[in-house]
Symmetry: C2
């Protein structure tokens, strides 16, 4: 039997993305100019995992820090932990709720519902004097990219917009899926039986997060590869959104 | 420039694993009999991601439920949420601390330091009347497997022992790394500069968890593929353990 095989490659050649950059066009150009050894059928569906940072930048989700007036709370906190009060202010503006604010760490729930450090506000790879916000609606961004990419690449495309988040209990950050278009974020094994014929109970696999994590292995933080191409993943027919991955508050024991 | 490419394939043909099964031998047999289209250099290092379940079973980490005498606490809890009191007892025995025990969910810190639902105790894919525990020391299991696999496969091998854990804030389970041998669980970007020349701050990427997550995409829960082979990942020289991935309690805001 042929083994199921997934191939993940980083897309080189995407130039610096700025507000107004047509990101889909740049991805299509880079995709078409990347030489690929032994590529699968050119009509097979692919998943494009796109780093949130370039999506946000192309959508103009930048805040110029010299236009930010920090609140009293932001100034107080920033002074205590030697932070930039303007960045603290931007972080607090992203929050629908502050989940933890201690030891110099701010973990908030964003207006999207993500619980993450600094509300996803990031200064790395941002033009000088600015910080980058998460996309307003990552699922909408994913749908828009997907439409354009499918048209330009003449093949079925799914899109995952990824960002790397920390997590409780385990060290380090891992990539997760924010926006999703063209695939279900889950594989639902509930109702399937194990090799002993027993019904699987609570087995909902967050495949969109696993696809994002897999893509990170070829993307890196400083190597200028903001997009990965995943081929060979089966299960692309179902639909869903990245929002589905957010645990409803009433089912969450840690909020 | 050639794009960095990672290939992940599931290993078919590993038979039912039981206490005493020589898991390394079975993996070597399956590896050698899997036909691979266009494989890379046969001397290139590979990563074998092995599901915790088969490691535990080969090591005899099974508990026969008819030998378990539930405590008063276990019986009370089980009655309230319609659980098997013997399984609740086994779960509580894995705990060095109970983190949450409400709404029918038990999240404990195991003696290894993992914070996870049911202390990793699992009835799925376990022989009838038994449950499977996590390996006593997943890093030791990984080191042992690695030694045997490297010898049998005549190539550099790294091993990740994986299990799927839930997480706060996000729905669904994702694969993480429990035991690690032959690779660093992190890529440490601290000290590197972004494309604007700014120092990256808190960027410690948990690659072992991302490798485990990527492997899950070809493994599945019911498809009988407990091992995945990852080729093409660079960064295999450094060493480290799975234990390194556990966030120290004093740095954890959610314990």
């Amino acid at each position: 039997m042929a083994a199921p095989t997934i191939r993940i490659r980083g897309l080189y050649g995407i130039p610096e993305v700025l507000p107004g950059t047509n990101l889909a066009d740049e991805i299509i150009k880079a995709f078409n100019s990347c030489k690929v050894r032994g590529e699968n059928n050119k009509r097979d569906p692919i998943i494009l995992v796109v780093a949130q940072k370039v999506v946000s930048k192309s959508e103009g989700r930048l805040v110029h820090l010299d236009r930010v007036i920090p609140s009293v709370q932001a100034r107080k906190w920033a002074r205590k932990y030697q932070k930039d009060p303007r960045i603290v202010e931007v972080v607090l503006q992203q929050a629908s709720r502050v989940v933890r604010m201690e030891r110099g760490i701010i973990i908030v729930e964003t207006h999207h519902g993500y619980v993450c450090a600094n509300g996803g506000v990031d200064a790395s790879n941002a033009p000088c004097g600015t910080v980058v916000l998460l996309p307003q609606d990552p699922d909408r961004s994913a749908r828009r990219l997907r439409r354009r990419l499918a048209r330009g690449l003449h093949r079925p495309v799914a899109v995952v917009i990824s960002d790397s988040f920390g997590r409780p209990w385990r060290l380090g950050i891992t990539n997760v899926a924010l926006g999703v278009a063209g695939l279900s974020p889950f594989i639902d094994c509930r109702g399937q039986v194990d090799s002993y014929g027993r019904l699987l109970q609570a087995t909902l696999i967050a495949v969109a997060d696993e696809l994002a994590a897999a893509a990170e292995l070829v993307m890196g933080k400083t190597s200028g590869i903001p997009v990965a191409v995943i081929e060979g993943f089966v299960g692309l027919s179902a639909a869903g959104t990245g929002k589905d991955l957010i645990r409803p508050e009433k089912e969450d024991l840690f909020r």
